[in-house]
């Protein structure tokens, strides 16, 4: 949560606030001078001592509403914390107000005796106005933040879809798969047909362009099994996909097309560089309120390929961060013989 004061993060609001109070001061002083014949000097001192003083101290009310937001707290807690905060702020305000009056007002005793009781009431009224104002600002900021995140998320989903499509028409995958099919049409036409169908299903899934960001886990899993099946036809024994999926995971929700980049990496860095079989293991289970997906593969580190956090992994991390507001949901481990990625997907 962002505790930064809106006057700092949003300077224009601070300017409006100051202008408003300057305007109020001028009107108040002129009115009292003209209508009640109070000398402008006295009127100015009085205004600055009480209402304007609140304008300064009142800005701190922002932090009170941030600590007692309407969404996360009980009504009772909110009321109690505001009553306490209001009393403290009014007390501080009155103290400074009285000091100010005593220093500058021509008749401080009379003013204090007559005006202070009504000012206590005024202080609480000001406080009420301020919390309404700040809650509105807070709500507006949250709303804008949400819009921004939604836009970013949509961009990332698009990027993931595009990435999936691109990886499916890259020569690594598409043309080599087509070459396998070409070979199978002679040696095993049934298998060739099966592969054409698998390839079609996979591409259809990525072309579906859903704007929904989450899908049931079994759907995502089915799509990735298909992907591995197609690659298995090419790589034969070299690719050995293993699935250990608990029954209760299947209905869990998972962001759309988030797993494919992981399998792609396993094939690109594991299988493609290997002469020995490579196990690509997927292990899924529910851990309390989390779906845990672990994907790992062994690989030969003597064949050096530069690898940093590629586009695929970065996209996954960014999407999890935006959807669940937690950067720690993806864990990458590389011990030079195994490459392992663990995803923790929160469920509602």
């Amino acid at each position: 949560m962002d505790f930064k004061h809106p006057f700092i993060s949003w300077p224009r609001l601070a300017i409006y606030y100051v202008l408003f109070w300057v305007f109020a001061a001028v009107v108040n002083i002129l009115l009292r001078w003209i209508a009640y014949d109070i000398p402008p000097g006295t009127a100015t001192v009085e205004f600055f001592a009480m209402p304007f003083m609140f304008a300064i101290i009142g800005t701190s009310i922002w932090y009170v509403i941030k600590f007692s937001t309407l969404e996360n707290n009980s009504v009772f807690r909110i009321i109690i914390s505001h009553v306490i905060a209001a009393s403290i702020i009014v007390l501080i305000w009155l103290y400074f107000g009285v000091v100010f009056i005593k220093l500058l007002h021509p008749e401080p005793e009379a003013y204090i005796d007559n005006r202070i009781p009504i000012n206590i009431f005024m202080g609480y009224a000001f406080y009420m106005m301020y919390i309404v104002f700040f809650y509105a600002v807070n709500y507006y900021q949250g709303f804008k933040e949400k819009l921004r995140n939604e836009g970013k998320l949509k961009g990332l989903i698009k990027e993931a879809e595009l990435h999936a499509l691109k990886s499916q028409i890259n020569p690594h995958f598409l043309f080599n798969s087509l070459n396998s099919i070409s070979s199978l049409t002679m040696s095993d036409p049934f298998k060739a047909q099966e592969m054409v169908i698998n390839l079609s299903s996979l591409m259809r899934y990525s072309l579906k362009h859903d704007q929904i960001d989450k899908v049931p886990f079994h759907e995502e899993l089915k799509n990735n099994r298909l992907y591995l099946q197609i690659e298995k036809v090419r790589f034969g024994n070299k690719l050995n996909p293993l699935f250990e999926v608990d029954e209760d995971c299947l209905e869990a929700q998972i962001p759309n097309m988030i797993l494919q980049p992981l399998y792609e990496n396993a094939i690109k860095y594991g299988v493609y560089e290997a002469t020995e079989p490579v196990d690509v293991v997927t292990r899924c289970k529910m851990k309390g309120n989390m779906l845990e997906v672990v994907i790992y593969n062994n690989y030969d580190s003597s064949v050096r390929s530069k690898r940093g956090e590629g586009i695929g992994l970065r996209n996954i991390r960014d999407r999890l961060q935006i959807i669940y507001n937690n950067p720690l949901l993806m864990k990458v481990e590389d011990n030079k013989t195994d490459f392992k990625v663990t995803l923790a997907i929160p469920q509602n």
């Binding site: 020569p171 690594h172 043309f175 080599n176 087509l178 070459n179 396998s180 099919i181 070409s182 070979s183 199978l184 002679m186 040696s187 036809v233 090419r234 790589f235 034969g236 493609y272 560089e273 290997a274 002469t275 003597s302 064949v303 050096r304 390929s305 530069k306």
Partner: protein, 249 residues
Amino acid sequence: MSEKIRTIIVEDEELARNLLKSFLKEVENIEVVAECENGFEGVKMINELKPDLVFLDIQMPKITGFEMLELLEHKPHIIFATAYDQYALKAFEYNAADYLLKPYSKVRLNEAIEKVAERIKSEGTESEVADKVSNYPREEYLDRIVVKDRHKINIIPADEVRYIESMDDYVMIYTTGSRHMKQKTMKYFESALDPNNFIRIHRSYIVKVEEINEIQQYEKESYIVILHDKTKLKVSKTGYKNLKEVLNF
């Protein structure tokens, strides 16, 4: 045609191999003498059997088709077969007879074989692969060097290279604990290795920046570089300028 073209297939995918084999079975003047699953096997079989023609995939485990070519003592005619079109230019720099894009048709394959048959008629069974390779300009810097020591093929990651010394037609590549000979020019390595990490300090030396411990003046206008393990290497005038440029002193 009287004699058959002796052919080796180097291809890591079984299905792709099968397809090529079944195409080649119907071509009269081709005789497949071996099939290899990777570049290591490829080097061994090609040097041993000395075929006229090799069908070569580029992206293979361990070493690529191009890296394999650098290790050959016998230079056959090459037809590349790959799914990637971006290597075509490079393939022709290697004097490839043809470049087949997967999936390819039988007709296209036959055309490629025609070309090879003609080349064999005009040039004989050995091609000029290696000569063209050496000074090939690259778009990316090397991240590994493949060398052959007697019967073993070693893959040296570029950042394990300490320095390179020229020895007539060869270079000697020094790594921590060992050294390897390779038939390449200094000029090749000067342009193929990342110039921010490797500096040509002399006609005979390329040195890795991180290995340099000290640069010492030992005569007027002449310098030596002392490495962390106390090895001393001569620095030429141009070499000193190169050092100055990269190290910024």
